[in-house]
């Protein structure tokens, strides 16, 4: 049984220049998203996970490397062709307070995606918008209201409806529940899971929260300093974490049944990875980046 690959990046690099210093946000990322799966990208701030997400939906362009969607190479296409292809990829942002336009009615900003994809009859657009709102667990009449009238959870539902408007196949969700209260988080995660089934979607789910990734994702890629250091099925990565960074990350999550002692834990030295480092397969589909012997300086075994 072969599962179709929807999105595929190969050797992706992205550098930014700030104050005459070059920052390497992505150092050669290769990754595939299969049809119908939820791929988690986990890492801390500055690991490059959001940059990766932005490139996948076309909000940023890579410095080098290839981006394929459904087998078609995107980064070499002309701008209109690229836009057309990238309409399949939509994005949900972390903060629904800043990602919605405060001066546009909800219905208008959801409808813009449909208008951009070629639908020109606003009556037809409006009826689709009302339908989308209902599917995202909101009332149809919310289309006539402005974002400030809604709570954080409702706004995130609106943002989800907007992402779904152009009928995408891939949705990149960048920390979609981090700004929400715990009880609301669970509702939004349930909504995302349900929509995935109904709308036949595939997700790239970017998060810093292991518990959220464990709840929703099929596979997870752990990012650190612009590299993927470990990747595999969620069960394998969480229950049999191989990379010291993944273990650090899992260890740091606060949990019940453990008390702080006030003792500082012994610091773990993380391996310094280089471009030539290779992935080692741990079990089926579970790979870990191995530092070459020369750069491996005590991984805290």
């Amino acid at each position: 049984m072969t599962v179709k690959t929807l999105l595929n990046v190969e050797g992706l690099r992205k550098s930014f220049t700030a104050n005459r210093r070059t920052v390497h946000a992505l150092n050669g990322i290769s990754l595939t998203l299969r049809e119908g799966e939820t791929l988690g990208i986990i890492g801390e701030s500055g690991s490059g996970k959001s940059t990766l997400g932005r490139i996948a939906v076309g909000l940023d362009t890579p410095t080098s490397g290839e981006l394929h969607i459904e087998g078609c190479r995107i980064d070499t296409l002309s701008a209109p062709m690229r836009r057309e292809k990238l309409r399949q990829c939509q994005m949900i942002f972390q903060d629904p307070y800043s990602s919605l336009n405060p001066r546009l009615k909800v219905g208008r900003q959801i409808g813009e995606g449909l208008f951009a994809s070629g639908e020109s009859d606003w009556r037809a657009i409006n009826s689709k918008v009302r339908d989308l709102l209902a599917r995202c667990g909101l009332e149809k009449d919310f289309a006539e209201r402005y974002p400030h009238e809604f709570s954080g959870g409702q706004r995130q539902r609106i943002a989800i409806a907007r992402a779904l408007a152009p009928n995408p196949r891939i949705v990149v969700a960048d920390e979609p529940v981090s700004a929400l209260d715990v009880t609301i988080q669970a509702q939004i995660l349930d909504l995302l899971a349900e929509l995935k089934k109904v709308e036949n979607l595939s997700y790239i789910f970017i998060s810093h929260d292991m518990a959220v990734v464990a709840r929703l994702c099929d596979r997870v890629a752990v990012m650190h300093r612009g590299r993927i250091v470990e990747c595999g099925p969620v069960e394998a990565v969480i229950e049999n974490a191989q990379h010291p960074y993944t273990r650090n990350l899992l260890e740091a999550v606060p949990r019940f049944g453990r008390r702080r002692t006030g003792q500082r834990p012994t610091p773990v030295t993380l391996p310094q990875h280089e471009d030539g480092d290779n992935f080692v397969t741990v079990s089926e589909g579970h790979t870990v980046l191995q530092a070459s012997a020369s750069t491996c300086r005590g991984t805290g075994q």
Binding site: D181, V182, M210, L249, P254, R260, G262, R264
Partner: protein
Amino acid sequence: MNTPFLRVRDLSVTFPAKGAPFNAIDRISFDLARGEILALVGESGSGKSMTSLSIMQLLPGAAQMSGSIEIDGQNIVAFRRRQMEDIRGAKVGMIFQEPMTSLNPVLTIARQMTEGLVRHKGLTRRNALTLARTCLDDVGIPDPDRVLSQYPHQLSGGMRQRIMIAAALALRPGILIADEPTTALDVTVQSQVLDLLFDLKTRSGSGILLITHDIGVVAETADRVAVMRGGKILETGSVDDVLHSPQHDYTKSLLASHLTVDRSMKQRRTDREETGA
């Protein structure tokens, strides 16, 4: 038994509004002793930050306070600005969620850390600087001399939060209010900052009022917990009691919706068994 350092009784905070006035905090009472960590948990809008702001008298002008807040035996509710200046920093320290906005971007760390020491402890600048250096060392900041000459934007979030903690604790306050101190930080840094708070509580004997929405953080660090919702304290008790046998329905639902890695993994297994069956 000696009286607790902080004693709050029937504290209410009301905002005038059209129609009925809005009660941000509704008759809450709690105590906090030195050397103890009390966690206030609740969702946004539950009144937990309002509670901390009223202890510091930093509420917006329109707010009206009633009830009593005793700090070291003094009821501060009717205190004037001048009087509050001797409380803030000296008796009650505070650290906020976002260390970038709570540090002054145009002053060096040295300047910000010594300000309180000169004001409250009457130290000379030079002595204050020496003490600041020791405090930075205490919170595990490497190369304190370099950090003292830097500005906030040159430092990472974790470093900034450590500096806030060092600056607050340099004054040896009886209690430290930590309002979501780790929410803006990465998990690995969060873990270090929590270790630090715990360690400092043990060593300096300050009481800590830890305001958080994360039950996991409460379970690991707090001694006692008060669950807030809609401006009221619904349930209070030792961490073991409240987390293991919650009495109030809201506490139960808060605990049930808390996502943990273990719980997520368990859920996955049951899901798979259901679809397999």
